[in-house]
Amino acid sequence: MSGMGGEVRPPRGAGRLFAAPASDLTSHLATFGPVPDGPAASHLLDELQASGLQGRGGAAFPAWRKFAAAGSGRDPRSRGGAAVVVANGAEGEPRSAKDATLLRAAPHLVIDGLLLAGRTIGARELYLVTTAASLPYVARAIAERTDATAIRLREVPEAFLSGEASAVISSLEGGPALPRDKSRRLSSSGLAGRPTLLNNVETLAQVALIARFGAEWFRRLGTEEEPGTRLVTVSGSDLAPTVREVVGGMTVAAIVRAAGGSTDTLGAVLVGGYHGAWLPAERLDTPLTGHDLAPFGAAPGAGILVLLESASCGLKASAAIAGYLAAQSARQCGPCANGLPRMAEVLEKLAGGSRDTALPAEIRRLAALVTGRGSCHHPDGTTRLVLSALTVFSAEVKAHLAGGCLADRRARAGVAA
């Protein structure tokens, strides 16, 4: 085999996860070297803690803490049994393509991370869940190696909520890929009641790099709060979904440009996907960090940026998303099943040109009514998007209630010019 003998140097630029020239095992080993083995379980936990790696599925929970919780089984409510690790590549967000891209371009890093996670917490069962489109790439990678036979591949449907942690567990147990009540913790009582560690596939790929090159190397790029690199998906305006690996703490504007987009004619950027929040054009110099985005109610999430032209109406765009999200409600929880369609409908009215001045207050009332009243965070995420629209597009709200539309006016001025 080529590459095995040579000295492997850690990737130096921002192209870490995609440093290998091809997705096959030989290229992978030549670029990154083999997975370090030996009993270094506690060592990896220490490195993860020092690295500051946070989950890349959206929740941004410290990776080491999740590993430690599932590994300890200390929770008295745990029914015990051998631990389970799940690599989550379901990626239900329609505007995200990073997990599919990663599984296609660097499946061996994800597999390495999954094996390392299993070894670290002493798991006997390893799963990788993803959509039908990505399965063949992973299957081919698993077939290339001898150490991955324990990994079971499972398909999940392409739906907004199918990647939600408890929905993934439910589908692995043979149930529907729908969220469940959250009275049990995954770390102590997940798949079939066993301690379960569920990580996004990008998180696991980063773990595979940190296990090889260490926390200090990981932190060489990025900022204190956002160390390392992360995958982002930029789409919208006339940009097809574009996945990039970017250095932590880059500004939203810089990321848009790195993806080949232009910020010149943008009116706003939706940060964090459909459960995210709008960032107005004049604030695109905001770094993609939890701290900097917090004033806008946004977070880096799964690294999703959606561009909106200033000649496109932010209320109409938000109403379309709210309508989509309402339709994606699993319809299990009354307030979500009834409240989201109602909220989307009222926003649609406002976007559509109704001059009823009671509409914004009615949207806010419905938002307050559904928040916190579901088994998953779908009502809260939908509410975040809708309330952010009312705030960031407040001038547009006023214009609509006065019978106009600012974006339309800008579009017409643009055509005339």
Partner: protein
């Protein structure tokens, strides 16, 4: 819930089970109202985990026992 006292227990609503017939809201009117679709609505805005005072424990136990969908659980903190 008064600010000085810690809640004696928490009433958890499993929203995936509750069908909003409102029996619990009749047993715990101090804590629960009904929203416009009939689902229990915590008066303090606490969502699906409703803090209870000691004096409300008995009514909460009844609600747990009588909920036709077995959607309620009582958790001592």
């Amino acid at each position: 819930m008064s600010r000085e006292r810690r809640p004696a227990a928490t009433l958890h609503i499993d929203w995936t089970l509750c069908d909003g017939r409102g029996l619990c809201t009749e047993l715990l009117p101090e804590r629960l109202a009904r929203d416009e679709w009939g689902y229990p609505l915590a008066r303090d805005g606490s969502g699906g985990d409703v803090p209870l005072a000691a004096s409300q424990l008995e009514a909460a136990r009844d609600a747990v026992a009588l909920c036709p969908r077995l959607a309620l659980t009582l958790r001592k903190d």
